[in-house]
């Protein structure tokens, strides 16, 4: 999250709403460990990464639906080995779970 701090500050100063997604769990091989984070502004600006490119697009979609009030904060899973997983997979075959929330604290 360290690499996001400057952008989070900038958005907060500008009064822009932001969603924050953090990796909370990795099963099997995953490209990035717990704590990897990305942030998406209401305007669709994106900083950080959670997987090295495999699932970022889908995270942006989830982040924007959160900011639009179409979903609650909570866990989003990506990968093949899990029933709750989205269709988007990871090239490494693992499963990652992200926690997605509005950055308003």
């Amino acid at each position: 999250m360290k690499e996001l701090l400057n952008d989070l500050d900038r958005w907060r100063t500008a009064g822009t709403r932001v969603a924050l997604a953090r990796v909370v769990d990795v099963e099997g091989s995953g490209p990035r460990g717990p704590g990897a984070a990305m942030a998406v502004s209401l305007e669709g600006e994106v900083v950080g990464s959670v997987s090295g490119g495999c699932v970022e697009g889908a995270v942006v979609t989830e982040a924007l639906s959160l900011l639009h009030g179409e979903r609650e904060p909570g866990i989003v899973a990506f990968g093949y080995s899990d029933d709750e997983a989205f269709a988007v997979g990871l090239t490494c075959g693992g499963t990652i779970r992200l926690f997605i929330e509005e950055f308003n604290w």
Binding site: M1, K2, L5, L8, D9, R22, V24, D25, G33, P34, G35, E72, P73, G74, I75, F99, E101, E102, F103, W105
Partner: protein, 267 residues
């Protein structure tokens, strides 16, 4: 100052901090900020849950780990207490460099100690001057294997060692032990353990005396012979005995049986 401002301040300055977030169950999105030596900021929704997560967060931070933990709504942790209650899943994210363990001597005990140290979250360095013993193939669990004498390693990065770190000297060989002890004593490292029988220990004290290490403050820092008195025999048991001593050293506890004491287990 908001919770995230305080978090950002700590992360930017490189000072240890942990953030606990409820990710599932009652109170999703609640936060608790955990800073060693300070009261926690924020709340996960119940003061007992906050207290327990604060305690666990400090331990995670100490080990430099991040991960999910499961609690009852009032901070219950045992399987019996959790049975039949709704659970709260908490993601604890730590910002701290992992503690280091430097092991001098590439012997049988080294591999077992390196394995246990990895479980505890250490970044493990193995160092021995003998090229045929100090190889990555013998110590695949070590983060780094160095073929050199102790002094260059301490000169190069002894200053990175601090109270959370450990130096374990397992060589039994005075020409390697003494420079390693000297190197370690010149740092702020929290734990210095030196292996050997009581006889070896006595002889080592004479050698240290000859090397000019005589101050009681210095000698008091040496855990020699290394480890707790568990009656450990195998390398694996010995590794547990050493790591148990490191933990007791850090927490300042006596390492006696909980059964023999009274009062809170986690004061």
């Amino acid at each position: 100052m908001t919770l995230s401002d305080r978090l950002a301040e700590r992360v930017r300055s490189g000072d240890p901090v942990a953030l606990a977030t409820v990710i599932e169950g009652e109170g999703v999105g609640n936060h608790l900020l955990i800073i060693p030596g300070e009261d926690s900021n924020g709340s996960l929704g119940h003061s007992d849950l906050d207290r327990v997560v604060h305690r666990d967060g400090l331990a995670e931070l100490e080990a430099g780990r991040s991960g999910i933990r499961t609690y009852g709504p009032e901070g219950q942790t045992t399987p019996e207490d959790l049975e039949g209650t709704p659970t709260v899943r908490v993601f604890v994210e730590s910002w701290a460099p992992p503690p280091q363990m430097w092991i001098f001597g590439a012997v049988d005990f080294t591999a077992a100690l390196a394995r246990v140290a990895k479980i505890l979250g250490y970044r493990v360095l193995v160092c021995d001057a003998r090229e045929i013993f100090a190889t990555g193939r013998r110590f695949p669990m070590a983060d780094e294997v160095r073929v050199t004498w102790p002094s260059p390693v301490f000169e190069e990065r002894g200053e990175t060692l601090g109270p959370r770190d450990a130096v374990c000297i397992l060589t039994h060989d005075p020409k390697f032990d003494i420079p390693a002890v000297q190197g370690a004593l010149a740092t702020r490292v929290g734990y210095i353990g030196v292996m050997g029988s009581r006889t070896t220990h006595e002889r080592r004290l004479e050698r240290l005396d000859e090397a000019g290490i005589t101050s009681n403050d210095d000698l008091a820092r040496l855990m020699s012979p290394i480890g707790l008195d568990l009656g450990a025999r195998t390398p694996e048991e010995t590794a547990i005995s050493i790591c148990a001593e490191i933990i007791a050293n850090r927490t300042g506890r006596t390492a006696s049986r909980l059964r023999s004491g009274s009062g809170p287990i986690h004061p």
